[in-house]
Symmetry: C2
Amino acid sequence: MIVGIAGLGLIGGSLAKAYKSAGDHTVYGFDADEATLGFAQVAGAIDGVLTPETAAQCGLLLIALYPKDAVEYLRSLAPYIPRDALVIDCCGVKRFVCQACFELAAAHGFTFVGGHPMAGTHNSGFKYSRPTLFKGAAMILVPPVYDDIMLFDRIEKALAPAGFGHLTVTTGEKHDEMIAFTSQMAHVVSNAFIKSPAAREHKGYSAGSYKDLTRVAWLNPDMWSELFLENRDVLIRELDFFIGSLSKYRDALDKSDGPALRALLDEGRRLKEELDGR
Amino acid sequence: MIVGIAGLGLIGGSLAKAYKSAGDHTVYGFDADEATLGFAQVAGAIDGVLTPETAAQCGLLLIALYPKDAVEYLRSLAPYIPRDALVIDCCGVKRFVCQACFELAAAHGFTFVGGHPMAGTHNSGFKYSRPTLFKGAAMILVPPVYDDIMLFDRIEKALAPAGFGHLTVTTGEKHDEMIAFTSQMAHVVSNAFIKSPAAREHKGYSAGSYKDLTRVAWLNPDMWSELFLENRDVLIRELDFFIGSLSKYRDALDKSDGPALRALLDEGRRLKEELDGR
């Protein structure tokens, strides 16, 4: 397979390394940062630079840039992409990216599928990339149509070298709703939690619950602020719901209402038990 | 050493097993639940029942009950406790417990020291207790005075069989402030977070960040509602601060203010880096 990869950060770099180590694939890479591009070549993660000329040879194009950059990059490269090529992005929001890229694909004749690999670390950049990053991880896919069995087969074969544990097909709307809750909100909550003045004095009192809760506070502000803004309607809805939930505990405490507080805690406990089992 | 342990749940049961397995100690235990008391005896975690008669032989008394029960239990047993005995509780709030128990100790002549072992699991009860629960964990101590070196030496020797990693001395006020942030707030946040309607549909989108954030949602509602109410002033202050922090992100999203959102995220990232290092 001849694979093009745009963006050689943690995700794109790991994809490049995964394809190179999975077998006899040719990988062309692009990164806006020339040092990264050069380093990826020296490291053997790519065989050459992804240009309009090399893009024209690719059967698979993976785009691992921030959402707006991903769309703009695909717009600029679209005229050179073969009609039988498959293009998959890796952005953390899907409505915005898919809407723009489905249009580009329709206009130029190639196939675009939205993708979101559920893998990552709080470290970003090529230097943290590794070929096994996606091993066993979920890859969420947003296809242009839902009844094309041949397309699913094509996607599965194209992504096999990355080593995903399973592929999940959904819509952009459903993806953005779910990801607002499981990932984006978790990052907002973690990042906001650590701002308490008590955080500065907590050494020696650091419980496991604090460590888990603030783990993802260490995030990439450029990437996450863009992801949040592209999903702001759903994220605002989740934030309002969460602030409303917290306010119920606050009110029960304010009224010293033990039974109400206990009922709130028990409701949360039961939900956790139901959802995540023993 | 002759040790009395009141409350044979996860904490008290683990203390009993730790003292029994650490050497030639006699352990008398008490639990309001007769089946637990009988099971602890059969399991060899205790040598006999802690009564006014056996309490009179104890050099160390550990109280692992909920806060109000701990105070009432000590009040009822106080007349029988030797003047040279050391009494330590294990409650998660310290102002309320220490104030009451320092008075009881002064009135009856024994020594009381507030304690909070920083160990636990989301499972509670004797059946989950184990002798190694405290191995390497911190034990926070609130002594009646801060200049009695002999007392610290006595506490250290008395607690040695439990295997704590380190003993931290503080005031009830400081303890309750820190624990409101690192532990109580983490439990409220986790328990409230899972109430989103999105939680019920998140299967397949379950990121590591969601898992970490909701780990402690599975809590003991009876214990935590009592702990929260006994620390409500500090906990309400933390909740108000946190809701205020979240509202800043919400407002930046509402205004689609990218720079403000980025600045909020970067502030959280820097704090996390400063506080918890690489």
